[in-house]
């Protein structure tokens, strides 16, 4: 392969020479996403094409969900309007191209934070909004109680995700065989699985719960106990625009901190008048100049929290135990409750 690289390098030199001679300049503005968003007046946010609880349009065509709420919070913080979001549905395949090309300003599409995506694909993961892991769903009448009993099974997977790599590794490590059935979207996978064209459906456990919730008879299907991977899902932006990365990162942190500090959509107007807790005051902008440092209004975080509530409220409303998806907080509880959510301090 080294030869190939040499060749490419040579071609490049020739082309760059031609470029200089012709005096053609190719403009690609890397920085300034924050200014772009402000000037445009809307935030372009990449989401899933339709995953109940995470990102799906409701009966009125309004996007709803856990990932959608992150987009709305960022739009509220930057533009002061939680509805000023242009949602761009992306598939597992198109999401990175959409972000890299600048078609979207940020991606909030249950995307796993991995080394190669961060380093090689040149994206910045600004944090984790859901700690997930890959699981398996099987029909109850199959009589399977552990993923290790799945020798020879046909497994439906969504192609273009980390799940197909995890799956290959899991079956390889355990020395059992399987047959993958690659599928483009969650909806198709659901159809194939329900028709019995595959014995098992595998994806992130949260996605399985969301998919099962949409079944006619959810109780005929069980999630197997094995979680075979770490899937920290979070919003991401392009490398090289740290100001914009900071805005998205600290908006997410504000939502998490708000839950920890007890700021809710119900009491936020009261707290915005000023409290005796300096950190709450700094977040809500009544003390210090955190907003100014980000290049935003002083009440940026207050607007973000007002948009959909704090992290806990967003979780309960979209995917919590009271919803059909019925996910427990688990790893996604605050660190004070034994979970992994831990926002750096606002100071």
């Amino acid at each position: 392969m080294a030869d190939n690289q040499e060749e490419v390098k040579m071609k490049k030199t020739v082309l760059f020479g031609a470029l200089t001679a012709a005096g053609l300049a190719a403009g690609a503005a890397a920085a300034g996403t924050l200014d772009d968003v402000k000037a445009r007046g809307t935030l372009n946010c990449g989401v899933a094409t339709g995953l109940v609880g995470f990102a799906t349009p409701d009966a009125n065509g309004e996007w709803q969900g856990f990932d959608v709420a992150v987009c709305r919070a960022v739009a509220a913080a930057v533009l002061g309007d939680a509805t000023a979001v242009e949602f761009v549905p992306t598939t597992g395949k198109t999401r990175f191209t959409a972000l890299a090309s600048g078609e979207i300003d940020m991606l909030a599409r249950n995307t796993t934070w991995t080394f190669s995506r961060d380093v090689d694909l040149k994206f910045t993961f600004v944090g984790v909004n859901y700690y997930d892991g890959q699981g398996f769903m099987v029909p109850k009448d199959l009589g399977v109680s552990s993923a290790k009993e799945l020798d020879g099974a046909t497994v439906c997977i969504q192609t273009g995700t980390t799940t197909e790599l995890n799956l290959a590794d899991f079956f390889r490590i355990n020395g059992i065989s399987y047959e993958p059935v690659p599928i483009e979207t969650n909806a198709e996978a659901q159809q194939q699985y329900l028709a019995g064209a595959c014995d098992v459906y595998t994806t992130d456990a949260s996605g399985l719960a969301a998919t099962r919730a949409a079944f006619e008879a959810p109780n005929d299907h069980v999630l197997l106990p094995e979680i075979i991977s770490k899937e920290p899902l979070g919003p991401l932006v392009r490398h090289g625009d740290n100001e914009w990365g900071d805005v998205v990162r600290w908006t997410l942190n504000a939502l998490i901190s708000a839950e920890e500090l007890g700021i809710t959509s119900a009491n936020i107007s009261e707290m915005s008048a000023g409290t005796n807790n300096p950190e709450i005051n700094r977040i809500l902008g009544t003390e210090g100049t955190l907003g100014e440092m980000l290049g935003l209004d002083a009440d940026w975080a207050a607007k973000a929290i007002t948009a959909g509530g704090n992290y806990g409220e967003i979780f309960e409303k979209n995917i919590g135990e009271s919803t059909p998806i019925g996910l427990a907080r688990g790893l996604n509880a605050q660190w004070t409750d034994g979970g992994l959510l831990y926002s750096p301090p606002f100071r």
Partner: protein, 410 residues
């Protein structure tokens, strides 16, 4: 006396590039070429500049790294530890397999439908018109999905074959039709000569090629005899023997047995699996393109003067023989050129495979590999190169065939 004067020696002047009709066209062509090269150079330099701004560079090194994913249908050995390059080759072979199957069946289907559309039987010709209009007016992607969905929904799951009184049974105990695919018995060479089974199959293939030439020689001998005596000797049992005796002898020596599919665990095991995705893609491409080929065939036949068939009929030929001996050979020169583009269409349309999860090259290299490595430009360039190569090869082969059947003008 008249004197011949030499025409004045013409010297080339720069203005002739524009004023002289002999050179003018070259001038414009050269300018157009220059503009094209500049445009491509600009686009390329733009791409490289943008890549550099994003800190990316073109590299094909990823092709040598382990792919990490599994592929269900593979014609060559492949595991998740194989390289991305091997995954690409698996995809290439899958593309070629479905393109080959679809080209052959579309041709058979198209020729039959095209001929029958001209039938004197009202019902048959109307049925064929309905087939052509229904299938060529709905996008092929829709047909792929329709066939796949019907297969998934209508055929029983392997589960249905289980139990003492199963909902579904295997056809003749040999074939299982499930919504995952069709399981058929696989031939096994128990005692292949030269060691490996692949060598055994190669030997059988060679035997078949030998039989083909043997049968051809026999036909030539019979024709020569007919020329001499006017009576064609009966040869069909010799032909049968030439085809089957070597085949049966070879298979018996190498110990042919059949691996019959049976329920094992979650699934049918053993035998050959023809997956639902392959069937859906193959059938959809075949019936869709078959409708276009039917129209080509009809056009080709109608291009032949009616006098030809009337002349043939007056010689006492039956309608079937008129079609095979007089009409079709002449119609082929009209049919072949558009047929080439239909074959190219099949090959390119096979890239819709991902809709049903068939792992062709667009699914492996242009799908999973592209996703996992993020090397979009490299993967797409390779894809373009592959489809271009295959299309040019098909064109070249078909053009050779076209030259051999076209009207020989003397």
């Amino acid at each position: 006396m008249t004197t011949m004067t030499d025409p004045p020696q013409e010297s080339f002047r720069l203005s002739m590039l524009l004023n002289d009709t002999r050179y003018r066209s070259y001038t414009f062509q050269f300018i157009a070429l220059l503009a094209l090269v500049m445009a491509i150079a600009y686009l390329m330099s733009n791409m490289f500049a943008n890549l550099r701004d994003q800190g990316l560079s073109l590299s094909w090194a990823f092709l040598g790294e382990p792919a990490g994913y599994d592929i269900n249908q593979r014609l060559i050995e492949y595991t998740s530890q194989s390289t991305h390059w091997r995954a690409t080759v698996v995809g290439v072979l899958n593309t070629l397999l479905v393109a080959f199957l679809a080209c052959v069946s579309a041709t058979v289907l198209g020729v039959i439908a095209g001929v029958l559309r001209l039938s004197n039987n009202w019902l048959v010709s109307k049925l064929m018109s309905a087939y052509v209009e229904a299938f060529r007016n709905v996008p092929v992607l829709i047909w792929i999905i329709i066939i796949f969905t019907i297969m998934t929904a209508v055929m029983p799951a392997p589960r249905a074959f289980r139990g003492d009184e199963p909902d579904a049974t295997m056809l003749l105990g040999l074939f299982a039709f499930t919504n995952r695919g069709v399981y058929v018995p696989a031939p096994i060479l128990g005692n292949p000569l030269f060691g490996s089974a692949a060598m055994g199959w190669l030997l059988i293939l060679l035997g078949l090629v030998g039989s083909f030439f043997g049968a051809k020689a026999l036909g030539a001998w019979a024709s020569a005899k007919q020329e001499l005596t006017g009576v064609r000797p009966t040869t069909w049992y010799f032909t049968l023997a030439i085809w089957f005796v070597p085949l049966i002898v070879l298979l018996t020596i190498m110990g042919l047995s059949w691996d019959i599919p049976a329920l094992r665990g979650f699934n049918f095991g053993g035998g050959l699996t023809i997956r639902g995705s392959l069937i859906a893609l193959w059938f959809a491409l075949a019936i869709y393109t078959g409708a276009f080929i039917a129209e080509n065939v009809r056009a080709g036949i109608q291009a032949i003067n009616k006098g030809q068939s009337e002349a043939a009929a007056s010689l006492g030929l039956r309608p079937g023989r008129i079609m095979n001996l007089v009409i079709l050979p002449q119609a082929l020169r009209v049919i072949i050129p558009p047929l080439i583009s239909q074959y190219l269409n099949i090959t390119k349309n096979s890239s819709l495979a991902i809709a049903v999860g068939y792992m062709d090259i667009t699914g492996t290299l242009g799908g999973i590999t592209l996703n996992q490595t993020g090397r979009a430009i490299e993967c797409v360039l390779l894809l373009m190169l592959f489809y271009l190569t295959i299309s040019l090869l098909i064109s070249a082969v078909m053009n050779v065939y076209n030259t051999s059947v076209k009207l020989k003008e003397r």
